[in-house]
Symmetry: C2
Subunit: 321 residues, 2 copies
Protein backbone atom coordinates (compact mmCIF):
# COMPACT_ATOMS: atom_id res chain seq x y z
CA UNK A 1 0.00 0.00 0.00
CA UNK A 2 1.20 3.42 -0.86
CA UNK A 3 2.32 5.59 2.07
CA UNK A 4 0.50 8.86 1.98
CA UNK A 5 2.19 12.07 2.97
CA UNK A 6 -0.25 12.64 5.83
CA UNK A 7 -1.56 10.61 8.71
CA UNK A 8 -5.32 10.32 9.04
CA UNK A 9 -6.61 11.85 12.27
CA UNK A 10 -7.03 9.18 14.94
CA UNK A 11 -10.51 8.76 16.40
CA UNK A 12 -11.65 6.92 19.52
CA UNK A 13 -15.09 5.75 20.53
CA UNK A 14 -16.33 5.98 24.12
CA UNK A 15 -19.24 3.70 25.06
CA UNK A 16 -21.09 4.14 28.34
CA UNK A 17 -23.23 1.08 29.09
CA UNK A 18 -26.15 1.77 31.42
CA UNK A 19 -28.95 -0.53 32.55
CA UNK A 20 -31.42 1.33 30.28
CA UNK A 21 -29.38 3.17 27.64
CA UNK A 22 -25.98 2.73 26.00
CA UNK A 23 -24.33 5.98 24.91
CA UNK A 24 -21.76 6.32 22.14
CA UNK A 25 -19.36 9.20 21.48
CA UNK A 26 -16.61 9.59 18.89
CA UNK A 27 -13.64 11.81 19.76
CA UNK A 28 -10.45 13.10 18.21
CA UNK A 29 -7.20 12.44 20.06
CA UNK A 30 -7.41 16.01 21.39
CA UNK A 31 -10.83 15.33 22.90
CA UNK A 32 -13.11 17.03 20.39
CA UNK A 33 -16.53 15.33 20.34
CA UNK A 34 -17.31 14.54 16.67
CA UNK A 35 -20.50 12.54 17.03
CA UNK A 36 -22.74 11.07 19.70
CA UNK A 37 -25.86 8.95 19.92
CA UNK A 38 -27.51 6.37 22.14
CA UNK A 39 -29.43 3.12 21.86
CA UNK A 40 -31.55 1.15 24.36
CA UNK A 41 -29.62 -1.51 26.32
CA UNK A 42 -31.08 -4.97 25.79
CA UNK A 43 -30.47 -6.76 29.09
CA UNK A 44 -32.53 -9.86 28.21
CA UNK A 45 -30.91 -13.33 28.47
CA UNK A 46 -28.32 -12.18 31.03
CA UNK A 47 -27.19 -9.32 28.84
CA UNK A 48 -25.79 -11.59 26.10
CA UNK A 49 -26.96 -9.22 23.33
CA UNK A 50 -25.22 -6.12 24.72
CA UNK A 51 -21.76 -6.57 23.22
CA UNK A 52 -22.97 -7.87 19.80
CA UNK A 53 -25.27 -4.82 19.59
CA UNK A 54 -22.35 -2.50 20.41
CA UNK A 55 -20.29 -4.25 17.74
CA UNK A 56 -23.03 -3.60 15.14
CA UNK A 57 -23.24 0.08 16.12
CA UNK A 58 -19.48 0.42 15.67
CA UNK A 59 -19.65 -1.35 12.29
CA UNK A 60 -22.42 0.94 11.02
CA UNK A 61 -20.35 3.95 12.09
CA UNK A 62 -17.05 2.83 10.60
CA UNK A 63 -18.60 1.68 7.30
CA UNK A 64 -20.03 5.12 6.66
CA UNK A 65 -17.51 7.36 8.42
CA UNK A 66 -14.24 5.47 8.46
CA UNK A 67 -11.93 3.71 10.87
CA UNK A 68 -11.61 4.18 14.65
CA UNK A 69 -8.36 3.45 16.52
CA UNK A 70 -9.90 2.28 19.78
CA UNK A 71 -13.10 1.75 21.73
CA UNK A 72 -13.55 2.11 25.49
CA UNK A 73 -16.34 0.67 27.62
CA UNK A 74 -17.80 2.09 30.83
CA UNK A 75 -19.44 -0.76 32.77
CA UNK A 76 -21.87 -0.31 35.70
CA UNK A 77 -20.13 -2.72 38.09
CA UNK A 78 -16.70 -3.85 39.32
CA UNK A 79 -14.16 -4.64 36.57
CA UNK A 80 -10.76 -6.22 37.25
CA UNK A 81 -7.56 -4.85 35.72
CA UNK A 82 -7.87 -7.59 33.06
CA UNK A 83 -11.39 -6.51 32.09
CA UNK A 84 -13.12 -9.37 33.88
CA UNK A 85 -16.64 -8.81 35.30
CA UNK A 86 -17.64 -11.25 38.01
CA UNK A 87 -21.10 -9.85 38.62
CA UNK A 88 -22.84 -6.86 37.08
CA UNK A 89 -26.38 -6.84 38.50
CA UNK A 90 -27.75 -4.04 36.28
CA UNK A 91 -26.83 -5.83 33.05
CA UNK A 92 -27.33 -9.42 34.20
CA UNK A 93 -23.65 -10.22 33.49
CA UNK A 94 -21.83 -12.93 35.44
CA UNK A 95 -18.26 -14.11 34.83
CA UNK A 96 -17.77 -12.40 31.50
CA UNK A 97 -15.01 -10.36 29.89
CA UNK A 98 -16.83 -7.80 27.69
CA UNK A 99 -13.56 -6.12 26.72
CA UNK A 100 -12.16 -9.34 25.32
CA UNK A 101 -15.49 -10.26 23.67
CA UNK A 102 -15.70 -6.94 21.80
CA UNK A 103 -12.01 -7.08 20.85
CA UNK A 104 -12.62 -10.55 19.38
CA UNK A 105 -15.45 -9.22 17.22
CA UNK A 106 -13.61 -6.08 16.10
CA UNK A 107 -10.32 -7.73 15.26
CA UNK A 108 -7.92 -4.86 14.70
CA UNK A 109 -9.43 -2.22 17.01
CA UNK A 110 -8.03 -1.78 20.50
CA UNK A 111 -10.62 -2.22 23.29
CA UNK A 112 -10.43 -1.14 26.95
CA UNK A 113 -13.00 -1.49 29.72
CA UNK A 114 -13.48 0.02 33.16
CA UNK A 115 -16.03 0.69 35.88
CA UNK A 116 -18.43 3.47 34.88
CA UNK A 117 -17.73 5.72 37.89
CA UNK A 118 -13.97 5.41 37.35
CA UNK A 119 -14.39 6.07 33.64
CA UNK A 120 -16.54 9.17 34.34
CA UNK A 121 -13.80 10.42 36.69
CA UNK A 122 -11.26 9.99 33.88
CA UNK A 123 -13.56 11.92 31.54
CA UNK A 124 -13.87 14.84 33.96
CA UNK A 125 -10.10 14.78 34.55
CA UNK A 126 -9.48 14.85 30.81
CA UNK A 127 -11.93 17.41 29.45
CA UNK A 128 -14.24 18.40 32.32
CA UNK A 129 -13.83 20.28 35.59
CA UNK A 130 -10.41 18.70 36.13
CA UNK A 131 -8.93 19.45 32.71
CA UNK A 132 -5.21 19.95 33.22
CA UNK A 133 -5.09 17.99 36.51
CA UNK A 134 -3.27 14.68 36.78
CA UNK A 135 -4.74 13.77 40.18
CA UNK A 136 -8.44 14.11 40.93
CA UNK A 137 -11.17 12.32 42.84
CA UNK A 138 -14.72 12.41 41.51
CA UNK A 139 -17.82 11.71 43.56
CA UNK A 140 -21.14 10.84 41.92
CA UNK A 141 -24.16 11.68 44.06
CA UNK A 142 -27.07 9.73 42.65
CA UNK A 143 -29.35 7.06 44.09
CA UNK A 144 -26.13 5.93 45.78
CA UNK A 145 -22.73 7.56 46.27
CA UNK A 146 -20.07 6.39 43.81
CA UNK A 147 -16.65 7.67 42.98
CA UNK A 148 -13.46 7.26 41.06
CA UNK A 149 -9.81 8.19 41.53
CA UNK A 150 -7.39 9.35 38.84
CA UNK A 151 -3.71 9.31 39.87
CA UNK A 152 -0.90 10.40 37.55
CA UNK A 153 -3.49 10.82 34.80
CA UNK A 154 -4.74 7.23 34.99
CA UNK A 155 -7.69 5.47 36.63
CA UNK A 156 -6.91 3.72 39.91
CA UNK A 157 -8.64 0.44 39.12
CA UNK A 158 -7.77 -1.50 42.23
CA UNK A 159 -7.52 -5.23 42.72
CA UNK A 160 -11.20 -6.12 42.67
CA UNK A 161 -12.85 -2.98 41.35
CA UNK A 162 -13.52 -1.61 44.84
CA UNK A 163 -11.52 1.58 44.30
CA UNK A 164 -13.46 4.82 44.45
CA UNK A 165 -16.34 3.16 46.37
CA UNK A 166 -16.37 6.02 48.82
CA UNK A 167 -20.07 5.38 49.51
CA UNK A 168 -19.16 2.64 51.93
CA UNK A 169 -16.74 4.59 54.08
CA UNK A 170 -18.11 4.76 57.65
CA UNK A 171 -18.87 8.38 58.62
CA UNK A 172 -21.46 8.16 61.37
CA UNK A 173 -20.78 5.77 64.24
CA UNK A 174 -24.09 6.62 65.88
CA UNK A 175 -26.24 5.48 62.95
CA UNK A 176 -28.44 2.49 63.85
CA UNK A 177 -30.21 1.89 60.51
CA UNK A 178 -28.44 -0.57 58.23
CA UNK A 179 -26.91 0.36 54.89
CA UNK A 180 -27.58 -2.08 52.00
CA UNK A 181 -24.00 -3.32 52.50
CA UNK A 182 -24.86 -4.56 55.99
CA UNK A 183 -22.90 -1.95 57.95
CA UNK A 184 -24.28 1.15 59.67
CA UNK A 185 -23.30 4.77 59.08
CA UNK A 186 -21.91 4.56 55.54
CA UNK A 187 -21.62 7.79 53.54
CA UNK A 188 -24.09 6.27 51.07
CA UNK A 189 -26.82 6.42 53.75
CA UNK A 190 -26.23 10.14 54.23
CA UNK A 191 -25.04 11.91 51.10
CA UNK A 192 -26.80 10.03 48.29
CA UNK A 193 -30.15 11.33 47.00
CA UNK A 194 -31.77 8.58 49.07
CA UNK A 195 -29.67 9.52 52.08
CA UNK A 196 -30.57 13.21 51.88
CA UNK A 197 -34.27 12.27 51.80
CA UNK A 198 -33.88 9.79 54.68
CA UNK A 199 -32.11 12.27 56.94
CA UNK A 200 -34.38 15.22 56.09
CA UNK A 201 -37.51 13.14 56.72
CA UNK A 202 -36.09 12.29 60.13
CA UNK A 203 -35.60 16.03 60.81
CA UNK A 204 -39.17 16.74 59.69
CA UNK A 205 -40.52 14.13 62.11
CA UNK A 206 -38.44 15.34 65.04
CA UNK A 207 -38.64 19.11 64.59
CA UNK A 208 -41.50 21.50 65.31
CA UNK A 209 -40.06 24.18 63.01
CA UNK A 210 -42.04 25.31 59.98
CA UNK A 211 -41.02 23.95 56.64
CA UNK A 212 -42.39 23.87 53.12
CA UNK A 213 -41.41 20.18 53.12
CA UNK A 214 -43.48 17.28 54.43
CA UNK A 215 -42.42 13.92 55.84
CA UNK A 216 -43.99 11.74 53.14
CA UNK A 217 -43.15 8.84 50.85
CA UNK A 218 -42.08 10.15 47.48
CA UNK A 219 -40.22 13.19 48.84
CA UNK A 220 -37.23 13.73 46.54
CA UNK A 221 -33.72 15.13 46.98
CA UNK A 222 -34.54 17.67 44.26
CA UNK A 223 -37.45 19.00 46.36
CA UNK A 224 -35.15 19.26 49.37
CA UNK A 225 -32.37 21.09 47.51
CA UNK A 226 -35.00 23.45 46.02
CA UNK A 227 -36.36 24.13 49.52
CA UNK A 228 -32.81 24.76 50.77
CA UNK A 229 -32.19 27.15 47.88
CA UNK A 230 -35.30 29.14 48.87
CA UNK A 231 -34.09 29.40 52.47
CA UNK A 232 -36.23 26.70 54.11
CA UNK A 233 -34.58 25.94 57.47
CA UNK A 234 -35.15 22.19 57.55
CA UNK A 235 -34.26 21.73 53.88
CA UNK A 236 -31.05 23.64 54.52
CA UNK A 237 -30.20 21.69 57.65
CA UNK A 238 -30.83 18.33 55.98
CA UNK A 239 -28.76 19.15 52.94
CA UNK A 240 -25.97 20.76 54.97
CA UNK A 241 -25.65 17.69 57.21
CA UNK A 242 -25.35 15.39 54.19
CA UNK A 243 -22.82 17.63 52.48
CA UNK A 244 -20.61 18.17 55.56
CA UNK A 245 -20.44 14.38 55.96
CA UNK A 246 -19.38 14.20 52.32
CA UNK A 247 -16.71 16.83 53.07
CA UNK A 248 -15.42 14.70 55.95
CA UNK A 249 -15.09 11.76 53.56
CA UNK A 250 -13.20 13.88 51.06
CA UNK A 251 -10.77 14.86 53.82
CA UNK A 252 -10.21 11.13 54.37
CA UNK A 253 -9.50 10.72 50.65
CA UNK A 254 -6.93 13.55 50.87
CA UNK A 255 -5.14 11.69 53.67
CA UNK A 256 -4.74 8.72 51.34
CA UNK A 257 -4.14 10.08 47.82
CA UNK A 258 -4.10 13.89 48.25
CA UNK A 259 -5.66 14.88 44.90
CA UNK A 260 -5.49 18.37 43.39
CA UNK A 261 -9.23 18.53 42.94
CA UNK A 262 -12.50 16.93 44.03
CA UNK A 263 -15.24 16.90 41.41
CA UNK A 264 -18.89 16.57 42.46
CA UNK A 265 -21.22 15.04 39.88
CA UNK A 266 -24.44 13.02 39.66
CA UNK A 267 -28.07 14.12 39.94
CA UNK A 268 -27.71 15.85 43.32
CA UNK A 269 -24.98 18.12 41.90
CA UNK A 270 -27.70 19.84 39.84
CA UNK A 271 -28.34 21.79 43.07
CA UNK A 272 -25.30 23.79 41.99
CA UNK A 273 -22.77 26.01 43.71
CA UNK A 274 -24.62 26.18 47.05
CA UNK A 275 -23.32 22.65 47.78
CA UNK A 276 -19.66 23.69 47.71
CA UNK A 277 -19.41 25.72 50.97
CA UNK A 278 -21.34 22.97 52.79
CA UNK A 279 -18.89 20.32 51.56
CA UNK A 280 -15.94 22.62 52.24
CA UNK A 281 -16.98 23.06 55.87
CA UNK A 282 -16.85 19.32 56.58
CA UNK A 283 -13.58 19.04 54.65
CA UNK A 284 -11.87 21.86 56.54
CA UNK A 285 -12.94 20.44 59.90
CA UNK A 286 -11.26 17.10 59.23
CA UNK A 287 -8.15 17.89 57.22
CA UNK A 288 -4.71 17.59 58.81
CA UNK A 289 -2.99 20.32 56.80
CA UNK A 290 -5.30 23.23 57.61
CA UNK A 291 -4.04 25.15 54.61
CA UNK A 292 -4.84 22.30 52.24
CA UNK A 293 -5.45 23.70 48.78
CA UNK A 294 -7.46 20.90 47.17
CA UNK A 295 -10.23 22.49 45.12
CA UNK A 296 -13.85 21.28 45.30
CA UNK A 297 -15.70 21.84 42.01
CA UNK A 298 -18.92 20.80 40.30
CA UNK A 299 -18.64 18.37 37.39
CA UNK A 300 -18.85 19.91 33.93
CA UNK A 301 -19.60 17.12 31.47
CA UNK A 302 -22.89 15.92 32.98
CA UNK A 303 -24.10 12.68 31.39
CA UNK A 304 -21.29 12.79 28.82
CA UNK A 305 -18.47 12.20 31.33
CA UNK A 306 -18.71 8.43 30.68
CA UNK A 307 -18.24 8.62 26.90
CA UNK A 308 -15.33 11.07 27.28
CA UNK A 309 -13.65 8.85 29.87
CA UNK A 310 -14.22 5.62 27.96
CA UNK A 311 -12.66 7.11 24.81
CA UNK A 312 -9.71 8.37 26.85
CA UNK A 313 -9.25 4.94 28.44
CA UNK A 314 -8.93 3.31 25.02
CA UNK A 315 -6.46 6.02 23.97
CA UNK A 316 -4.30 5.44 27.06
CA UNK A 317 -4.29 1.69 26.48
CA UNK A 318 -2.87 2.41 23.04
CA UNK A 319 -0.19 4.69 24.46
CA UNK A 320 0.86 2.08 27.03
CA UNK A 321 1.26 -0.75 24.52
Amino acid sequence: MKELGFKMEQRYMGIDIGGTTTKFGVFTKEGRLLDKWSVPTDISENGKHIIPKIYREIKVFTESKGRISGAGLGIPGPVTQEGFVENCVNLGWRDVNPERELAGLLGDVLVAGGNDANVAALGEAWKGAGAGCENIFMVTLGTGVGGGAVVNGEIVNGMQGLSGEIGHIPVNEKETEKCNCGNCGCLDQIASATGIVRYTRRLLRESSRESCLEDRDGLTAAEITAAAASGDAIGTEGLAYSMTCLGKSLAIVSHIIDPEMFIIGGGVSAAGEMLIPMIQEGYDRHIYLKKSHAAIRLAKLGGDAGIYGAARLAMQKGENL
Copy 2:
Protein backbone atom coordinates in the same frame (compact mmCIF):
# COMPACT_ATOMS: atom_id res chain seq x y z
CA MET B 1 35.11 7.78 22.88
CA LYS B 2 35.31 4.17 21.90
CA GLU B 3 32.08 2.22 22.28
CA LEU B 4 32.71 -0.92 24.28
CA GLY B 5 30.95 -4.13 23.39
CA PHE B 6 29.28 -4.37 26.79
CA LYS B 7 27.29 -2.08 29.01
CA MET B 8 28.46 -1.64 32.58
CA GLU B 9 25.91 -2.77 35.15
CA GLN B 10 23.81 0.19 36.28
CA ARG B 11 23.85 0.99 39.98
CA TYR B 12 21.53 3.20 42.02
CA MET B 13 22.03 4.71 45.46
CA GLY B 14 19.20 4.95 47.97
CA ILE B 15 19.63 7.51 50.75
CA ASP B 16 17.28 7.56 53.74
CA ILE B 17 17.64 10.81 55.68
CA GLY B 18 16.56 10.56 59.31
CA GLY B 19 16.75 13.14 62.08
CA THR B 20 19.65 11.23 63.68
CA THR B 21 21.17 8.99 61.02
CA THR B 22 21.41 9.02 57.23
CA LYS B 23 21.52 5.57 55.63
CA PHE B 24 23.08 4.76 52.25
CA GLY B 25 22.54 1.67 50.10
CA VAL B 26 23.84 0.82 46.62
CA PHE B 27 21.74 -1.49 44.45
CA THR B 28 21.84 -3.14 41.07
CA LYS B 29 18.93 -2.50 38.71
CA GLU B 30 17.54 -5.88 39.77
CA GLY B 31 17.52 -4.81 43.42
CA ARG B 32 20.57 -6.63 44.75
CA LEU B 33 22.06 -4.72 47.70
CA LEU B 34 25.78 -4.28 46.95
CA ASP B 35 26.83 -2.04 49.80
CA LYS B 36 25.34 -0.15 52.72
CA TRP B 37 26.49 2.19 55.46
CA SER B 38 25.27 5.09 57.56
CA VAL B 39 26.51 8.42 58.89
CA PRO B 40 25.17 10.78 61.57
CA THR B 41 22.82 13.51 60.26
CA ASP B 42 24.13 16.98 61.05
CA ILE B 43 20.99 19.06 61.55
CA SER B 44 22.83 22.18 62.78
CA GLU B 45 22.21 25.52 61.03
CA ASN B 46 18.78 24.51 59.73
CA GLY B 47 20.15 21.36 58.16
CA LYS B 48 22.32 23.20 55.62
CA HIS B 49 25.12 20.64 55.88
CA ILE B 50 22.95 17.61 55.13
CA ILE B 51 23.02 17.66 51.32
CA PRO B 52 26.75 18.66 51.03
CA LYS B 53 27.59 15.76 53.38
CA ILE B 54 25.53 13.35 51.24
CA TYR B 55 27.34 14.68 48.17
CA ARG B 56 30.74 13.93 49.77
CA GLU B 57 29.64 10.40 50.72
CA ILE B 58 28.57 9.77 47.12
CA LYS B 59 31.89 11.17 45.83
CA VAL B 60 33.93 8.94 48.13
CA PHE B 61 31.95 5.93 46.95
CA THR B 62 32.11 6.67 43.24
CA GLU B 63 35.84 7.55 43.30
CA SER B 64 36.73 4.17 44.74
CA LYS B 65 33.97 1.96 43.29
CA GLY B 66 32.81 3.66 40.10
CA ARG B 67 29.83 5.49 38.71
CA ILE B 68 26.20 5.41 39.86
CA SER B 69 23.29 6.12 37.50
CA GLY B 70 20.99 7.72 40.02
CA ALA B 71 20.46 8.66 43.65
CA GLY B 72 17.15 8.75 45.51
CA LEU B 73 16.37 10.60 48.74
CA GLY B 74 13.87 9.64 51.45
CA ILE B 75 12.93 12.79 53.38
CA PRO B 76 11.11 12.81 56.77
CA GLY B 77 8.41 15.33 55.82
CA PRO B 78 6.07 16.37 53.00
CA VAL B 79 7.68 16.67 49.55
CA THR B 80 5.85 18.08 46.50
CA GLN B 81 5.95 16.35 43.13
CA GLU B 82 8.71 18.81 42.11
CA GLY B 83 10.88 17.87 45.12
CA PHE B 84 10.09 21.00 47.09
CA VAL B 85 10.11 20.84 50.93
CA GLU B 86 8.17 23.62 52.63
CA ASN B 87 8.83 22.53 56.18
CA CYS B 88 10.72 19.51 57.51
CA VAL B 89 10.74 19.88 61.29
CA ASN B 90 13.11 16.96 62.00
CA LEU B 91 15.86 18.32 59.76
CA GLY B 92 15.28 22.03 60.27
CA TRP B 93 14.55 22.50 56.55
CA ARG B 94 12.27 25.29 55.33
CA ASP B 95 11.54 26.16 51.70
CA VAL B 96 14.30 24.06 50.16
CA ASN B 97 14.59 21.69 47.24
CA PRO B 98 17.11 19.05 48.35
CA GLU B 99 16.61 17.04 45.15
CA ARG B 100 17.62 20.00 43.00
CA GLU B 101 20.48 20.94 45.35
CA LEU B 102 22.03 17.47 45.18
CA ALA B 103 21.49 17.27 41.41
CA GLY B 104 23.33 20.58 41.07
CA LEU B 105 26.32 19.22 42.99
CA LEU B 106 26.40 15.87 41.20
CA GLY B 107 26.03 17.20 37.68
CA ASP B 108 25.42 14.12 35.57
CA VAL B 109 23.68 11.86 38.11
CA LEU B 110 19.90 11.69 38.15
CA VAL B 111 18.37 12.59 41.56
CA ALA B 112 14.85 11.91 42.86
CA GLY B 113 13.30 12.73 46.24
CA GLY B 114 10.21 11.65 48.14
CA ASN B 115 8.63 11.46 51.55
CA ASP B 116 10.26 8.76 53.70
CA ALA B 117 7.06 6.80 54.41
CA ASN B 118 6.13 6.80 50.71
CA VAL B 119 9.66 5.76 49.79
CA ALA B 120 9.62 2.93 52.34
CA ALA B 121 6.31 1.75 50.83
CA LEU B 122 7.95 1.70 47.40
CA GLY B 123 10.86 -0.31 48.84
CA GLU B 124 8.53 -2.92 50.34
CA ALA B 125 6.53 -3.05 47.08
CA TRP B 126 9.74 -3.58 45.11
CA LYS B 127 11.74 -6.09 47.13
CA GLY B 128 9.93 -6.59 50.45
CA ALA B 129 6.62 -8.15 51.50
CA GLY B 130 4.92 -6.76 48.38
CA ALA B 131 7.46 -7.98 45.82
CA GLY B 132 5.50 -8.69 42.65
CA CYS B 133 2.58 -6.39 43.57
CA GLU B 134 1.90 -3.19 41.63
CA ASN B 135 -0.61 -1.84 44.17
CA ILE B 136 0.09 -1.83 47.90
CA PHE B 137 -0.49 0.35 50.93
CA MET B 138 2.10 0.36 53.71
CA VAL B 139 1.43 1.50 57.26
CA THR B 140 4.29 2.42 59.60
CA LEU B 141 3.42 2.04 63.27
CA GLY B 142 5.98 4.05 65.22
CA THR B 143 5.71 7.00 67.58
CA GLY B 144 3.03 8.07 65.11
CA VAL B 145 1.16 6.27 62.34
CA GLY B 146 2.49 6.97 58.85
CA GLY B 147 1.82 5.36 55.54
CA GLY B 148 2.40 5.33 51.82
CA ALA B 149 0.51 4.20 48.74
CA VAL B 150 1.96 2.58 45.63
CA VAL B 151 -0.39 2.47 42.62
CA ASN B 152 0.58 0.95 39.27
CA GLY B 153 4.09 0.42 40.69
CA GLU B 154 4.65 4.09 41.54
CA ILE B 155 4.38 6.21 44.66
CA VAL B 156 1.21 8.25 44.99
CA ASN B 157 2.83 11.53 45.94
CA GLY B 158 -0.22 13.76 46.07
CA MET B 159 -0.48 17.48 45.63
CA GLN B 160 1.03 18.63 48.90
CA GLY B 161 2.64 15.50 50.26
CA LEU B 162 -0.40 14.56 52.34
CA SER B 163 -0.91 11.19 50.64
CA GLY B 164 -0.55 8.14 52.84
CA GLU B 165 -1.08 10.21 56.02
CA ILE B 166 -3.54 7.63 57.29
CA GLY B 167 -2.70 8.61 60.89
CA HIS B 168 -5.08 11.52 60.67
CA ILE B 169 -8.13 9.64 59.45
CA PRO B 170 -10.91 9.95 62.06
CA VAL B 171 -11.77 6.53 63.51
CA ASN B 172 -13.29 7.23 66.92
CA GLU B 173 -16.02 9.87 67.10
CA LYS B 174 -16.31 9.43 70.85
CA GLU B 175 -12.71 10.41 71.60
CA THR B 176 -12.48 13.62 73.65
CA GLU B 177 -8.67 13.99 73.97
CA LYS B 178 -7.06 16.06 71.22
CA CYS B 179 -4.64 14.67 68.67
CA ASN B 180 -1.56 16.81 67.93
CA CYS B 181 -3.31 17.84 64.68
CA GLY B 182 -6.09 19.50 66.65
CA ASN B 183 -8.85 16.99 65.85
CA CYS B 184 -10.12 14.20 68.12
CA GLY B 185 -10.24 10.49 67.39
CA CYS B 186 -7.49 10.21 64.74
CA LEU B 187 -5.99 6.78 64.07
CA ASP B 188 -2.66 8.18 65.26
CA GLN B 189 -4.09 8.52 68.79
CA ILE B 190 -5.03 4.84 68.84
CA ALA B 191 -2.73 2.66 66.76
CA SER B 192 0.67 4.35 67.14
CA ALA B 193 3.04 3.15 69.88
CA THR B 194 1.97 6.23 71.84
CA GLY B 195 -1.69 5.47 71.14
CA ILE B 196 -1.43 1.85 72.28
CA VAL B 197 0.12 3.04 75.57
CA ARG B 198 -2.48 5.78 76.01
CA TYR B 199 -5.43 3.43 75.49
CA THR B 200 -3.99 0.58 77.58
CA ARG B 201 -3.22 2.95 80.47
CA ARG B 202 -6.85 4.06 80.33
CA LEU B 203 -7.93 0.40 80.56
CA LEU B 204 -5.58 -0.17 83.50
CA ARG B 205 -7.11 2.79 85.36
CA GLU B 206 -10.68 1.74 84.69
CA SER B 207 -10.47 -2.03 85.09
CA SER B 208 -10.24 -4.10 88.25
CA ARG B 209 -8.87 -7.12 86.36
CA GLU B 210 -5.39 -8.44 87.19
CA SER B 211 -2.59 -7.54 84.85
CA CYS B 212 1.19 -7.72 84.78
CA LEU B 213 1.07 -4.14 83.48
CA GLU B 214 0.87 -0.98 85.57
CA ASP B 215 -0.58 2.44 84.76
CA ARG B 216 2.67 4.40 84.96
CA ASP B 217 4.68 6.97 83.00
CA GLY B 218 7.27 5.23 80.89
CA LEU B 219 5.08 2.24 80.02
CA THR B 220 6.00 1.22 76.46
CA ALA B 221 4.15 -0.34 73.56
CA ALA B 222 6.77 -3.11 73.57
CA GLU B 223 5.85 -3.99 77.17
CA ILE B 224 2.17 -4.08 76.20
CA THR B 225 2.71 -6.31 73.17
CA ALA B 226 4.92 -8.61 75.27
CA ALA B 227 2.15 -8.81 77.91
CA ALA B 228 -0.41 -9.55 75.18
CA ALA B 229 1.84 -12.30 73.80
CA SER B 230 1.98 -13.93 77.23
CA GLY B 231 -1.82 -13.88 77.51
CA ASP B 232 -2.31 -10.87 79.80
CA ALA B 233 -5.99 -9.86 79.46
CA ILE B 234 -5.55 -6.09 79.61
CA GLY B 235 -2.48 -6.09 77.37
CA THR B 236 -4.45 -8.17 74.85
CA GLU B 237 -7.52 -5.95 75.03
CA GLY B 238 -5.49 -2.75 74.61
CA LEU B 239 -3.53 -4.06 71.66
CA ALA B 240 -6.60 -5.63 70.02
CA TYR B 241 -8.55 -2.37 70.25
CA SER B 242 -5.73 -0.43 68.58
CA MET B 243 -5.28 -3.03 65.85
CA THR B 244 -9.01 -3.39 65.04
CA CYS B 245 -9.16 0.41 64.62
CA LEU B 246 -6.20 0.10 62.27
CA GLY B 247 -8.10 -2.61 60.37
CA LYS B 248 -11.10 -0.29 60.03
CA SER B 249 -8.81 2.36 58.51
CA LEU B 250 -7.39 -0.16 56.06
CA ALA B 251 -10.95 -1.01 54.96
CA ILE B 252 -11.39 2.71 54.25
CA VAL B 253 -8.20 2.66 52.16
CA SER B 254 -9.60 -0.30 50.18
CA HIS B 255 -12.72 1.72 49.38
CA ILE B 256 -10.53 4.39 47.82
CA ILE B 257 -7.62 2.62 46.08
CA ASP B 258 -8.29 -1.11 46.62
CA PRO B 259 -4.68 -2.35 46.91
CA GLU B 260 -3.61 -5.98 46.57
CA MET B 261 -1.78 -5.93 49.86
CA PHE B 262 -1.42 -4.00 53.10
CA ILE B 263 2.05 -4.06 54.64
CA ILE B 264 2.52 -3.36 58.35
CA GLY B 265 5.89 -1.94 59.36
CA GLY B 266 7.49 0.26 62.02
CA GLY B 267 8.52 -0.51 65.59
CA VAL B 268 5.15 -1.91 66.72
CA SER B 269 5.25 -4.50 63.92
CA ALA B 270 8.06 -6.24 65.84
CA ALA B 271 5.20 -7.78 67.84
CA GLY B 272 4.87 -10.09 64.86
CA GLU B 273 2.15 -12.29 63.42
CA MET B 274 -0.21 -11.97 66.40
CA LEU B 275 -1.14 -8.49 65.10
CA ILE B 276 -2.55 -9.79 61.82
CA PRO B 277 -5.80 -11.45 63.03
CA MET B 278 -6.52 -8.39 65.18
CA ILE B 279 -6.14 -6.07 62.18
CA GLN B 280 -8.07 -8.49 59.96
CA GLU B 281 -11.04 -8.47 62.35
CA GLY B 282 -11.45 -4.69 62.08
CA TYR B 283 -10.93 -4.86 58.32
CA ASP B 284 -13.53 -7.58 57.76
CA ARG B 285 -16.10 -5.72 59.83
CA HIS B 286 -15.90 -2.59 57.68
CA ILE B 287 -15.29 -3.83 54.16
CA TYR B 288 -18.05 -3.61 51.55
CA LEU B 289 -17.04 -6.67 49.52
CA LYS B 290 -17.14 -9.30 52.24
CA LYS B 291 -14.99 -11.63 50.18
CA SER B 292 -12.28 -8.99 49.72
CA HIS B 293 -8.97 -10.71 49.12
CA ALA B 294 -6.52 -7.95 50.07
CA ALA B 295 -3.68 -9.57 52.03
CA ILE B 296 -2.39 -8.09 55.29
CA ARG B 297 1.32 -8.85 55.80
CA LEU B 298 4.19 -7.77 58.02
CA ALA B 299 6.95 -5.71 56.40
CA LYS B 300 10.10 -7.60 55.44
CA LEU B 301 12.86 -5.06 54.91
CA GLY B 302 12.82 -3.48 58.38
CA GLY B 303 15.00 -0.36 58.55
CA ASP B 304 16.28 -0.96 55.02
CA ALA B 305 12.92 -0.27 53.31
CA GLY B 306 13.88 3.38 52.87
CA ILE B 307 17.16 2.77 51.05
CA TYR B 308 15.51 0.19 48.77
CA GLY B 309 12.64 2.55 47.97
CA ALA B 310 14.86 5.59 47.43
CA ALA B 311 17.05 3.67 44.97
CA ARG B 312 13.95 2.43 43.15
CA LEU B 313 12.56 5.97 42.96
CA ALA B 314 15.71 7.19 41.20
CA MET B 315 15.54 4.23 38.83
CA GLN B 316 11.89 4.98 37.94
CA LYS B 317 12.70 8.63 37.32
CA GLY B 318 15.27 7.48 34.79
CA GLU B 319 12.74 5.16 33.11
CA ASN B 320 10.17 7.96 32.83
CA LEU B 321 12.55 10.48 31.22
